[in-house]
Structures are given as C-alpha cells and as structure tokens.
Subunit: 234 residues, 2 copies
C-alpha cells in the first residue's frame, strides 16, 4: 500500500523552460543586452545531464545542483559571447532563476489534494535549497524535501530513490514515483518503487518529441496531477 | 538579515510528554496492562540524551533517532517489568508514539504566520521520517525538514546547525534557531546563528525546574510562537 508520493520537479511539477527564459529576459533587459532567452534557457539546460553524468560516473564527487548550474551558466554565457558582460555577483543572482519557476496550472491543486492522503515530497536532482525556495516561490505544499542531496547522488542512480524512501521510514513498494520522464520511472521501478506517468508535452516547447507517451505499463497513467489525484482515490 | 527560522521540536513545538503518555495509555490499556504512563514517558525520555551521547562521543556511528528510541523502549519496558508482555511488532508500533505528539496551542498559528515571512524548518534531533510524519499528524507547515539526519550528527554538535543553514544556501547569520532550551541556543549561537528563546514551562510537567527563564541575552525572547511572530515583525 502506497503511503508516500515522490515527484520529479523540473518539467513534472514546474515549467522550468518558461521560468528560466522569463528570469533571463528580465535579467538581460536590465543590462541592455539582447538575447534570445528561450534559446538561452535551452542551452543552459542542455548542459545539465552531462554535468551530472560526471558525478554519476564517479569522476567528480557529489556537489549540489546549484554548483553545477552555476558552472553551466558560466559556460552558457561564454557560448553566447557574454562572458565579459556579466559579473560574478550578477551570475549568482541569475543562477537563482531555478528557484523561480512557475508550477504547471494543475500542480498546486493536484498536490494539495494528494497531500490529504499521501506524504508528498520532491525527489528531484535539485538541492534542498533549490527545492525549498522553489516551493516557497510557487506555493508547492511539500511535506519535506527528499531526492539527490539526501542521497548525495543523481537520478537515475538507484540510491536517490532508495534513500528517499528510507528517509520516510518506508520500503520502496510503499512509495510511488511521479514523473513526466520515462527514464526516471524506469529507474524508480527498478529500485522497487511504484510508478505514475504524467505527460508534460510542452516541457521542451512546442516541438517536443520526447516523453509524449508512456513507454510501458506504468502503475498509473494520468493526464495531470488533478487526474492523478482522482486515479489514486483522492 | 534573517531569512530562515530553525526550530527545536520536542518540547518547543510539540508536547512530547503528554503525547507519549497518551499513546502509551491507549497501547497498554488495549493489552490490559496497568502502567503509570506519564512515568513511562519520562523514563523513556530519560534515556534519550545518554543514547545520543554515545553517537556524539564517537563510540557509535550515526543512526536515526528512531533506532535509539526503539532501543530505549526495549530498556524502558525491561525497567517496568514488561519485557515479556510486548512483542516486537507491537514495540515497533509503540515507537511511533513520537510521530503522534500534540503541538502546543500556539504552534500552528505561530508557525503559519512566521512562514509568510521566513522559511521554516525543524532542526531537531529527530529523523526526517519522525519529523515528516509528526508534521502530518499535527499539521505543522514546515517548508522542509532539516536537523540531525541531514548532518548525521546530534545537537548540540555544531555540524547540525551548520549543515541545516548550508542546506538552505544560507550563512549561519541569516538563520535563527528557536528553542525552549538554553543549551540548544548556546550551541546555535556558538555556530553563528541568531537565537530566539520561547519558554515551555510545563514540558517536563508541573514540577519543571529547567529552562524556565532565558540564561542570557538571546537575540529574541518571546512568550510563545505567536509572540515570536509579533516580535519578528510578522
């Protein structure tokens, strides 16, 4: 019997692409710099998996995602020819764009309904700080923050799912992972968790080709978090 | 400038003595066993500091408080001549008494008001699981759970306060520790945190002699959590 729901956050609960682009737009406009900020958001995010892969591969010890994001920001600014235009303090500020991301329209009501029956927590690759400030920004009603920093590892490594279940005093089968990404659910299932797929077909913009459909028979498939609440019996 | 408030929980936010005694009363009544359950709660709690001290002293690695509580429960049952009367599954169940503790009358309103201005989190010696289920039991509106398990150490070791501030991306002076215990605040202050004292003169029952007054000039002194919200400018 499932007692807790763990959520992927970037893409599943919040719209990181719109949020980062909006923050970047305001940031560069203040400085009189012209940038395609959606392309900037995509370029910054494109460095996310390779940066985590170095930690997963063991060639680098665990550092929180804030550190990787900041390094990736430096590289993205260089790619856009803006290295000389943005000082370190401003970069620290722009790096906090990841704490100011809009929830998808159904996220707050869906999570609030689900919380009445299940413990709910992010199981994200984001740090405790990112998840906490992001929740305060958007009103996400988490019971606590779990995920990468608890495990000092990055999804899809099994330690992240297992440490998050264990931190609640639960065995994996008492926990359900909710995500818009098939690979996240595959790893959660392999670790013994239940799985729920919620598609987010515009996470990567109008031309998205990945994760439009479930790859396999996840335990629950829902159209959004309100539908998930209905399917889990409210 | 303070951005987050960390709270001691057992005694400061919830009334552990009443809660444990109530849970024990129902537990033993169900089994037809006559026990002074307030004395039982006090005896169980009396083993708390010595158990943590073995971890603090390094003679034992960190284990979550749930594990220490369970060992202390076994010893307390033996002290009360009840070792043969309670099987292991029932002990596991009784150990969850620490997840079912009533908040003090001002705690929910005080925390809710404080949350509108500050990030709020427990910085307790309790585990993430204990703090999460306890929050769900009592409606405590934490932003996340910090404290001992994040640091793999027990208060008053400085690592607990420092790891909790760091997990929010804050320096110690941006964080205020709130507690009903002078020794907790002394350790927090030594680690660089701001401090707020809230007396809980009946935590240990009507005859309490400790922590009735602040020992020194803590940064804020409040009569309860609603008064703390007023003094921190709401």
């Amino acid at each position: 019997m499932v007692k807790a729901l763990l959520f992927d956050v970037f893409g599943t609960v919040v719209d990181w692409r719109t949020g980062v682009a909006q923050e970047a737009k305001a940031f560069f406009a203040d400085r009189g710099i012209s940038v395609d900020t959606t392309a900037f958001a995509d370029a910054w995010r494109a460095k996310y998996q390779p940066a985590m892969e170095r930690v997963r591969a063991g060639s680098r010890g665990y550092v929180p995602l804030d550190v990787l994001h900041r390094e990736n920001l430096d590289a993205t600014l260089a790619d856009f020819g803006l290295s000389a235009s943005v000082d370190p303090a401003a970069r620290t500020n722009l790096n906090r764009a990841w704490e100011k991301l809009p929830p998808w329209p159904d996220s707050l009501m869906g999570l609030t309904t689900l919380k009445s029956k299940y413990a709910i927590a992010p199981c994200s690759n984001g740090s405790i700080a990112m998840m906490t400030w992001l929740a305060r920004y958007g009103g996400l009603p988490w019971d606590t923050v779990l995920g990468a920093e608890i495990a000092r590892a990055y999804k899809p490594q099994p330690a992240v799912y297992l440490a998050s279940a264990s931190a609640l005093g639960l065995v994996p089968s008492e926990v359900m992972m909710v995500a818009a990404h098939n690979n996240d659910l595959a790893a959660a299932r392999a670790a013994g968790l239940k799985t729920a797929f919620v598609p987010r077909p515009t996470e990567h913009g109008p031309g998205q080709t990945s994760d439009l459909e479930p790859d396999t028979d996840w335990d629950v498939m829902a159209s959004d978090l309100n539908d998930l609440a209905r399917k889990l019996g409210e």
